[in-house]
């Protein structure tokens, strides 16, 4: 219809929409008027009153049909029918509240999980970083594939960086950043001292990212030089927390490591730097050339930095990578020292931030997708079952002229109602789950980017439509097929009816069970891997050990003897505290991280070729650390009290180091020499192996005295007989007595520390397990439903069988087998499918084979057991039937 016509008919349309009742009565009146006039006309033509009425009715035709046909011409007719169908749908669903509740909850769980994970995947993995032109940002690392103990993504040394920057000026801008620094912020103006994580960066770092400070200014080249006035930028968070959002913060002084710095800028709250090596919690940013020691800025052998690059338009990541890789090879040949790396690898900044979350998040999304599919199948199965019990009603309606489409529409609307209510509930569930996730996993990169937005709502709507179509169409086509007569006849006396519909449900069930098997296998493998991780032997007993970390500022503790004196005094006082069984100092406790390594050679051995060395992980320890942490001294002795400061030239090595570097000989009395010539140490003992990271194998490790070797930081390790947590406050008081300004960090038990490093694995395995359990419960409910339905349908048949002398045991066996068939078929589909799918999550597994036979066997066993339990009740019921009562059920 043309627009002009449309506008012309607006008043009429409104009237048709809002005054339907009046239109109805007017139509009735119109038809009555017509009849009256016809009757008068017939009377006038000489008919008897009775005849006149009959003839008038005959010429008019079927009045009721006429009314319907006329009404069908009205506008909004479709809408009216829809409302009508909705009303019928609500009425039918509320007649079976139990069914409705279960179906809605099932849908809510499925939809909620999917919406939540979709939002996480979209926000964390796909949403561009909040810098300008983020797709041109890349991180560049060094690579050195010959070193087995290293990850392939190696940090960068400053020496190489300056050369990279010089030679690629036309291809990319580059900035140097060291995100794993930290400062002791002194207490001033009533504020407590604290340790904050910090980063060093070159002056171009923020301009390269396109980040503007919300207050003050960014670094200028003049800030980023050794003798410049000390300047610092702080994050919005730190500004709010420590300075109560003081608007006059710019140019104020902050004391970092007991030195004054001028605050020149506040970073916007949207700024978060999250890379492979962390940085998301950094709160203070300082210029690298002002902060780093000059030796670190020149060296090619000490790798303390990350490199962020903004590629020029038209320059690809692979091009810059190839260019720098070639350059790095030249650097390596010019500096053949072993610590200089020989290659370069690069990846986009987004990949760098979220690489480790890709597989787990996609795996979780896949698992939740499976749960939704199972939920849809279950609801479809329930709708099919309901359609079956109403087959007679449908047959009668069809016989009376009910349109096929209208009947299908009714089923669709029923499933739409279930999906829509489930979807709304699911949306709320998803909101709650995301809220929880943001608080439960602050360690996850880009967790701050998670946002519930219009796209998530749109996704929910799309899922609702898909679920509606899926379960609605299956149930719609299960009903009303075949001829009407069969339906009417079947309803009259059902001996073995409804089997075709049960076949459809069994097919659905087999698929459901197949998916459940896949989920169960995934969950089983992840759980086993988590269990392996959790029970990993760190190398020391983890119970009743407390660790506390502190760091001495160089400005106040200038010389080695000041630091050693402080540490000695501290540990004596800690040992004297009531409740402390033993205590020690170490630069990094087991599981506390990498914390430095160096290349050594053995003086007594033939010299190593140039460019090679023995890679030792380095630890400073006090003489009684080994007994405090429970690390056995296997050979030799620990340090004595005199071996400190300039006499600290003795080391203990780990068993792994002894086996790898001193095969078949006694390391005691041998001497280690640093490749860079910085010293020689005598090996005086061998201790057990410990892990630096729960999920990584132990490295060859070297322990030297912490009193000396320049250490200004330490972890206090305290062992107690019980309630070691209660010692935290007394120990912090001891520290405060010695130095009022010294903050204590990372106060936690060794068990907590281990738990922290397994949190990813725990999170993933528990979520997948939860999905698998939901799937299993749904599948079991489905199995039970189908068999119970079949038994109800065949009650009379069983009655006859029993009356004719069938054995109850045989009947039970028959039914159990009947019920278990879908489970067996599902298992046959699911096991090979799992074998394929689990390969995708291989990177998430720790010391667990993807085809772990125990997991596969346990899953099969569990599934069959649950299936058996689900089938037992209806089968038992059928075999206990009283034949007389069964025959009378009609």
């Amino acid at each position: 219809m043309r627009l002009e016509n449309w506008i012309y008919t607006i008043p009429l349309r409104l009237r048709t929409l809002f005054h339907r009742n009046r239109l109805d009565s007017e139509l009735d009146e119109e038809i009555r008027d017509h009849l009256d006039r016809q009757i008068e006309f017939n009377l006038a033509n000489g008919m008897s009153p009775e005849e006149a009425r009959l003839v008038a009715l005959r010429t008019l035709g079927n009045a009721a049909l006429l009314r319907d046909q006329t009404r069908a011409m009205w506008n909004w007719n479709g809408l009216e029918q829809l409302i009508h169908d909705l009303r019928i749908g609500i009425r039918t669903l509320s007649r079976t509240p139990g069914f409705t509740l279960i179906a809605v909850l099932v849908m809510a769980l499925g939809i909620g999980a999917n919406v939540a994970l979709f939002t996480v995947v979209r926000s964390v993995l796909l949403k561009p970083l909040s810098y300008s032109d983020p797709e041109r940002l890349a991180l560049i690392y060094e690579a050195d594939h010959d070193q087995p103990h290293h990850t392939p993504w190696l940090p960068v040394d400053a020496g190489s960086f300056w050369e990279w920057q010089r030679s690629t000026q036309s291809l990319a801008q580059m900035a140097l950043v060291s995100p794993f620094q930290g400062y002791n912020v002194s207490g001033e103006g009533g504020k407590l001292p604290e340790v904050v994580e910090a980063a060093w960066c070159t002056d171009n770092f923020f301009s390269l990212l396109g980040v503007q400070p919300m207050l003050g200014r960014s670094f200028a080249p003049d800030d980023d030089r050794p003798g410049a006035p000390a300047a610092a930028m702080i994050t919005a968070n730190f500004w709010k927390r420590r300075y109560a959002s003081d608007p006059a913060i710019i140019s104020k002084t902050i004391w970092l490591d007991a030195k004054p710095y001028t605050i020149i800028g506040v970073l916007p709250s949207t700024f978060v730097y999250s890379g492979e090596f962390g940085g998301g919690t950094d709160q203070i940013w300082t210029p690298v050339k002002h902060e780093a020691p000059s030796s670190l800025l020149k060296t090619y052998g000490d790798h303390e930095f990350q490199v962020v690059a903004r590629l020029a338009p038209g320059v690809s990541l692979t091009a810059i990578e190839a260019r720098l890789d070639a350059l790095q090879r030249q650097i390596k040949s010019a500096h053949p020292e072993p610590a200089v790396h020989k290659g370069v690898i690069a990846r986009t900044m987004l990949d760098d931030a979220v690489q480790n979350y890709k597989t787990p998040l996609y795996a979780l999304l896949g698992a939740s997708g499976c749960v939704l599919l199972i939920a849809c199948m279950n609801v479809a199965g329930l709708l099919v079952a309901r359609a079956a019990t109403r087959s007679k009603e449908f047959a009668i309606r069809t016989a009376l002229g009910g349109g096929r489409l209208r009947l299908i529409r009714e089923r669709l609307i029923e499933s739409l109602l279930l999906s829509a209510v489930g979807g709304v509930l699911g949306l709320m569930l998803a909101c709650g789950a995301l809220e929880w996730l943001i608080h439960a996993r602050p360690d996850m990169h880009r967790v701050e980017a998670i946002q519930f937005d219009g796209v998530a709502v749109g996704f929910t709507l799309a899922i609702i439509v898909l679920c509606t179509l899926f379960s609605g169409i299956i149930s719609a086509f299960s009903s009303g097929r075949g001829n009407i007569l069969a339906g009417l006849q079947e309803g009259s006396r059902s001996h073995s009816g409804g089997r075709s519909r049960a076949l459809l449900r069994r097919l659905l069930l087999s698929m459901e069970i197949g998916l459940t098997v896949v989920l169960l296998v995934g969950a089983g493998l992840l759980l086993k891997s988590f269990e392996r991780l959790r029970s990993t032997d760190l190398g020391v007993p983890v119970d009743n050990v407390l660790t506390l970390r502190l760091s001495l500022p160089n400005a106040r503790y200038k010389h080695g003897d000041q630091k050693a004196a402080f540490f000695e005094q501290l540990i004596e006082r800690v040992r004297a505290l009531p409740g402390v069984s033993s205590a020690g100092l170490v630069t990094a406790a087991p599981g506390e991280g990498w914390n430095g390594d160096d290349l050594m050679s053995v003086v007594e051995h033939p010299p190593l070729p140039v460019g090679q060395g023995l890679d030792f992980m380095l630890r400073g320890a006090d003489p009684r650390y080994f007994s405090a942490i429970g690390l056995p001294i296997l050979k030799g002795r620990t340090f004595n009290r005199e071996e400190r400061l300039e006499r600290a030239n003795v080391v203990l090595i780990s068993r792994g180091a002894a086996q790898e570097f001193f095969p078949g000989e006694d390391p005691i009395g041998k001497h280690l020499k640093a490749i860079d010539g910085s010293g020689v140490w005598e090996v005086i003992g061998v201790v057990g192996d410990v892990r630096w990271n729960v999920s990584k194998p132990p490295n060859p490790t070297l322990y030297w005295p912490i009193y000396g070797n320049g250490y200004g930081f330490a972890t206090i390790v305290v062992r107690a007989a019980h309630d070691v947590e209660s010692l935290a406050v007394p120990i912090q008081k001891v520290v405060a007595q010695l130095d009022q300004d010294l903050p204590v960090t990372n106060v936690m038990t060794l068990r907590e520390a281990v738990g922290k490093s397994t949190v990813d694995s725990e999170f993933d395995s528990i979520l997948v397990l939860a999905f698998a359990i939901i799937a299993l419960v749904l599948a079991a409910a489905g199995l039970y439903g189908v068999l119970a339905y079949l038994v109800a349908q065949r009650t009379v048949e069983f009655g006859i069988r029993l009356a004719l002398g069938a054995q109850r045991k045989a009947l039970l066996r028959l039914l159990l087998f009947d019920g278990l068939k879908p489970a067996l078929v599902g298992l046959l589909i699911g096991l090979p499918a799992s074998a394929g799918v689990v390969r995708l999550i291989r990177s998430m597994l720790y010391q667990t084979a993807t085809l772990d036979p125990i997991v596969f066997a346990a899953v099969s066993g569990l599934l069959l057991l649950v299936a058996l339990a689900a089938c037992l009740a209806p089968a038992w019921f059928a075999s206990r039937l009283d034949p007389m009562r069964a025959l009378r059920t009609e």
Binding site: M1, N5, Y8, T9, L12, T16, E26, L27, E29, E30, I31, D33, H34, D36, R37, Q38, F41, T59, L60, G61, N62, A63, L65, L66, Q69, T70, R71, A72, M73, W74, N75
Partner: protein, 111 residues
Amino acid sequence: MSKPSDLVQGTLDLLILKILALEPLHGWALSQRLKQVSRDVLQVSDGSLYPALHKLEQQGWIHAEWRATENNRRAKFYSLTRLGRRCLEKETANWERISTAISGVLRLTEV
């Protein structure tokens, strides 16, 4: 011809519009007029008139209004709207074109 052909049936709208163009009528009068002018050749059942009338009304081609009639009764009178008049002209021209063409074909004599 006992039954009107489909072609004629499909032009019911046109007939209604034409009759109403002459004067506003209510449903029963319209049915009588239809029988009268077509000399009972077009046997439109009274019932099928109403869906057609309501359709035309919803399209805005005719306008309905309740008016008092004899003996204190009232009836729903249908009259042509401006839109309907324009439409009638178009449909009439259309019909004449088609019927001329068809008559022409039917007048062909076998050779």
